[in-house]
Structure formats: structure tokens, C-alpha cells
């Protein structure tokens, strides 16, 4: 009785996982598949294998410009966010001062305010000050929205530390700087690596804010949006998206692999699950 029911639930569980897997991954895999299809129409039947769309995508000046814009932007935004976010997390978890509650509240709010509203407010703000909308305005807005994410991830990590190590270091005569570099940063390393990748992804994938505060400077998501608004589906977009998705998958995978290796060497059970869930818990 129990085993029969157990088999039924296992079967149902498998069915659920497979169905969700197909629905979530299927479209992306088909998108990649059709980037190799030798036809300008994205439809069955499959006409044959070609790399033509990749050649065309890499020769398209607008596509390349948008991609370069996005990569440069995220590469600048991510490290700045890690520094600002970690400094904020440190201050609000390790010190008690009168305005602490105000600042820790303020830094949490941008995480809940919709990006649409932030984008619109930014647009009106820059327009009022008559600042021209360029990649720089997008960049500062990305920094503003993304460093609170780093703060949340790093603070979640900091509150679980043994504080005594830091105090021991100070009592034994270490300077604030030595305590930071020798005691705190090594322990924070996995959280910092994770937040760097998340910050990069937030900036790279952000659509709303880039759309409203970018003016004529397009990032990659804004370019894709523009192409899709103005024309039909294009194999060129498939090729570009496939390239980028492959890079994104590899980056996340290697980050995960690296963090696991470091954690194993240190003998701590710091699996992906704790890393990911610490951010939302």
C-alpha cells in the first residue's frame, strides 16, 4: 500500500519536474536551434544547417554596438556595486548609530520599487536637470538599483559570522584595515563573488531602466526589444541571443564550481543552496 502510493508520488514528482523543465527550457533550446536554421523564416521544417546568421549578427553594427555597450556597462557597474554594497552592508551590520535604521531601510527600498517606476523617475529627473540621456545616465541608475542587492547578499552573510574573530583581531592589535583584509574579506569571498556575478547580470539584463534613461544609446536588451517591436522575428536575434546565453550559462556554472571548490577546501558546507537562499531568506 505504502510502496504503491510511494511509486505513484515518485511518478507524479518526475512528471512535474519533466513538464516544468520542458516548458522552461524548451523555448530557449528551440531559439538556439533555429539560430542554425538555413532559412530567414523561423518555422518548421528545418531547412539545413548554417552559420550565416552568426556571421550576419557579428557584422551588424547596431547589434555589436548594443552588445559592447551592455558588456562595458555591466563590467563597470558590477565592481562599483560590490564595493558600495559591501561597505553599506558592513556599516549597517557592524555598527550601532542613531540613523542606522533609516539607512538600512533606505537601502532596502530600491529592491522592492518596480524598475519601471525607477526608470520613469530617472527619465524625468534627468530631463528636468537637462542632462542628456546617454550610457552614463544608464550606468549611474544601474549602480543605484544594483548595489542594494549586493548589500542584501553580503549583509545576509555578515550576520551569520562569528563576530568574535574580528574582535579578537582588534584586541590583538590589528588595525581596522588589517582586520578587513586578513579576517573579514577571506570569509566574505564566496558572497562577494556571487554578488559580483549577480550585479553583472542585473545590469546586463536590465531592460526598463536602460530603456527609459538611455536616450539613443542602446543596451542589448533594448536593442532586442526595438527589433521585435519594429519587425518580425529575425534569425539574427536568435544567433546573438544564443551566443550571449551560452556565455551567461558558462559564467554561472563556473562561478558555482569555483565556490564549491573553495568551500570544500576550507571544509565548510557552503553549497549553492545556502548561497542562493541566503539572498532571499
Amino acid at each position: 500500500m505504502t510502496s504503491a502510493r510511494g511509486r505513484v508520488t515518485d511518478g507524479l514528482a518526475l512528471l512535474l519536474v519533466l513538464t516544468v523543465g520542458v516548458v522552461l527550457l524548451g523555448p530557449i533550446l528551440l531559439l538556439a536551434l533555429f539560430s542554425f536554421n538555413d532559412s530567414s523564416v523561423i518555422a518548421l521544417p528545418f531547412e539545413g544547417f548554417t552559420l550565416e546568421w552568426y556571421r550576419e549578427a557579428l557584422a551588424d553594427p547596431e547589434a555589436i554596438k548594443a552588445l559592447v555597450n551592455s558588456v562595458v556597462l555591466a563590467a563597470i557597474v558590477a565592481p562599483i556595486c560590490v564595493v558600495l554594497g559591501t561597505a553599506t552592508a558592513w556599516a549597517i551590520t557592524r555598527f550601532r548609530f542613531r540613523s542606522r535604521a533609516v539607512w538600512s531601510g533606505l537601502v532596502a527600498i530600491p529592491l522592492i520599487v518596480p524598475w519601471l517606476v525607477i526608470g520613469i523617475a530617472g527619465l524625468l529627473f534627468f530631463a528636468t536637470l537637462q542632462i542628456e540621456l546617454t550610457l552614463e545616465t544608464v550606468g549611474v541608475m544601474h549602480i543605484m538599483t544594483t548595489f542594494p542587492l549586493v548589500t542584501a547578499l553580503v549583509a545576509a552573510r555578515l550576520v551569520r559570522f562569528e563576530r568574535s574573530q574580528e574582535e579578537a583581531a582588534l584586541d590583538l592589535g590589528a588595525s581596522q584595515f588589517q582586520m578587513m583584509t586578513k579576517v573579514v574579506l577571506p570569509q566574505l569571498a564566496p558572497a562577494l563573488a556571487a554578488s559580483a556575478i549577480f550585479a553583472f547580470a542585473w545590469s546586463f539584463n536590465n531592460f526598463e531602466i536602460s530603456f527609459f534613461t538611455g536616450g539613443y544609446d542602446q543596451t542589448f536588451p533594448v536593442w532586442v526589444y526595438g527589433v521585435l517591436r519594429n519587425s518580425n522575428n529575425l534569425p539574427l536575434v536568435n544567433a546573438m541571443s544564443t551566443l550571449i546565453s551560452v556565455v551567461q550559462i558558462l559564467v554561472v556554472y563556473f562561478l558555482w564550481w569555483g565556490i564549491r571548490r573553495v568551500s570544500r577546501r576550507r571544509g565548510t558546507a557552503d553549497e549553492l543552496s545556502t548561497m542562493v537562499t541566503s539572498g532571499v531568506r
Binding site: 523561423i42 530600491p110 520599487v113 519601471l116 549583509a155 574582535e167 522575428n233 559564467v251
Partner: protein, 307 residues
């Protein structure tokens, strides 16, 4: 993600005591927080608080360099009395709520499977969800459009199999398409908090309940759901707001019947240049999301205290 403000206070006391105990360190501690916080908080004040204040001012008619500048709630009253915007608001609520419910119906069992049944597939599934979320959202919307369109892959496949002879138009550019795209787009953020809450449940509770004769429905209703409730409310807090204000998905797959408030804001400001009404609508969206956030946050906290 609001852990900062939730967890920090209890953790502070010992260090504060140490800081106060030793005089020299106390003076250091005075200016250190300021050293860490000045730049980040200036960024938030200038690029977040100021624009929000400006948005509020514009919504009540006080544009800074606009021609007319007088206090007026005209933008709000004209939006609220316009049946068009009420219809759009209704569509938005229907779409966002359906997408949220669908995600919970899928997410709760899936989180359960991941937390208790998946075994060695647990971490790969989690990694898969994270990777999925790192993929570009616009690209993921595009992938669905490619599948569902009039000349899309699904219609093409059905036609060549002889199941239909006319392409089905009902697949794309409607509410259904937006709900599908949104539910698949945010599923990572729905599953992970629920999964995290379920990971904290002692599996022996299920065994004990089973030994005492409880069926799977009783176990789900009396043990699993109550203990996972904080995670469920966090998921709602994280996901419902972006669903409610989404702008890319409805404008790429929504057509006219899937027109949402996010698009209305965009069209008011960039399309018609009606800054006051656009700002007013943004503010009302913000207010609505604020209500959702407060309710979900309260429920998550209350449930955590009770368990």
C-alpha cells in the same frame, strides 16, 4: 532580500558594547559608519529619493521647468474617472494574479520535490533555476514569441501534421500569452524562497504524522503549507510587484487585450508626453505595490514568529 533590516538589530549588541567599553575604539566607531556610508547614501539620495520626489511633484502639477506650475490633483482624478484606465487596471490585476497563482501551484510542489525528493538532483535543479534566471528576460520573451506566433513553430508543426489547416491566432497577442510569459519568467524567484523555507522543515515531522495516520492531504495542509508559509509570502513579495508593473512582456506578446498598466505609463510619458498623468499613474502603481509589499511582509513575519 529585505534581510538587512530584519535580521541586523539582534546581532548588534555585543559589538556595540565592546565599542562603548573601550574609549579609543569608541571614537573610531563614531566616524567609521559615516566613512562607509557617505557615498552609497548620497547615491541613493540623489538618484533615488530626489527623482521620486520629483515624480510626486510632477504628478501634482509642479513641474520644475514646465510652463504651468500649480498644485492640482487633476491628473489623479482624470485617471481615476477614466473608464479606459479602470479596464487596464482590471486586466493588469487579472494577469498578474493569474501568473502569481500559476507560479504558486507549480512552485510549491516543485519546491517540495527539490527539498525532500530530488536527492542528488537537488543541486542541479537549483543551479538550473539560477541559470534560467540569469538568461536575458527579453530573450526569453522572444523565445516564446517565436513559438507562439502566427507563423511560429507551434502553428507550423500543427499544420504540417495536418491537425489544423489555418494557423491559430489565439496563441499570441492576448492575456494568455502574457500570463504564460510572466509565469515562466519569474518562476525562479517564486521557487527559491519556498524551497528555502521547506529546507528548514524537519522531515521527521512528515514521518511522525504518517505514523499517526495522517494522509498526504492532511500532511500538506497541516504541516507543509503552514511551515512553508513564510517562504510563500516572501515569494509573493518578490514576484507579485514586478508582475504587476511589467512592461516588456505585455508590449511584446500582449497585443491589445493584454495591455497592462506598465505600458500605459510608458505610452503616457513617451507616447503622449503627458508627464503629469504618467507620473500620477506611476505613483498609483507604486502605492499599489507598497500595499502588496507591506501585507506580504507582515504575513511572512507573523508566520515566522508563530512557527
Amino acid at each position: 532580500m529585505e534581510t538587512t533590516s530584519v535580521k541586523a538589530p539582534t546581532q548588534l549588541t555585543d559589538s556595540a558594547l565592546v565599542n562603548e567599553a573601550s574609549g579609543s575604539r569608541r571614537s573610531v566607531a563614531r566616524w567609521l559608519p559615516a566613512a562607509y556610508l557617505t557615498v552609497p547614501m548620497l547615491i541613493l539620495l540623489v538618484l533615488f529619493v530626489l527623482p521620486m520626489v520629483l515624480l510626486a511633484l510632477i504628478s501634482v502639477g509642479k513641474g520644475i521647468n514646465g510652463a504651468e506650475s500649480m498644485w492640482s490633483i487633476g491628473a489623479y482624478t482624470s485617471l481615476l474617472s477614466d473608464p479606459l484606465y479602470l479596464t487596464i487596471a482590471k486586466t493588469t490585476i487579472i494577469i498578474a494574479t493569474s501568473a502569481m497563482v500559476i507560479q504558486l501551484i507549480i512552485g510549491v510542489p516543485l519546491a517540495y520535490v527539490m527539498a525532500f525528493k530530488a536527492g542528488r538532483f537537488e543541486i542541479p535543479m537549483l543551479l538550473g533555476l539560477v541559470i534560467l534566471d540569469e538568461l536575458n528576460p527579453i530573450v526569453r520573451i522572444y523565445a516564446w514569441r517565436m513559438l507562439l506566433g502566427r507563423n511560429g513553430i507551434i502553428n507550423g508543426a500543427l499544420e504540417s501534421l495536418g491537425i489544423i489547416d489555418q494557423p491559430i491566432d489565439a496563441l499570441l497577442f492576448n492575456k494568455f500569452a502574457v500570463i504564460l510569459v510572466l509565469s515562466t519568467g519569474w518562476i525562479t524567484y517564486t521557487i527559491i524562497p519556498i524551497y528555502a523555507a521547506m529546507k528548514a522543515i524537519d522531515p521527521r515531522l512528515f514521518q511522525a504524522a504518517q505514523d499517526l495516520g495522517a494522509g498526504w492531504w492532511t500532511i500538506t495542509r497541516r504541516i507543509l503549507i503552514p511551515l512553508a508559509a513564510p517562504g510563500i509570502f516572501v515569494a509573493v513579495l518578490l514576484v507579485y510587484i514586478p508582475l504587476f508593473t511589467d512592461f516588456a512582456a505585455p508590449s511584446l506578446v500582449g497585443g491589445t487585450s493584454g495591455y497592462m498598466l506598465g505600458q500605459a505609463v510608458n505610452d503616457l510619458i513617451l507616447g503622449q508626453g503627458d508627464l503629469a498623468r504618467g507620473a500620477a499613474l506611476s505613483f498609483m502603481l507604486l502605492l499599489a505595490t507598497g500595499v502588496v509589499a507591506v501585507v506580504a511582509y507582515r504575513l511572512a513575519r507573523i508566520n515566522r514568529l508563530e512557527t
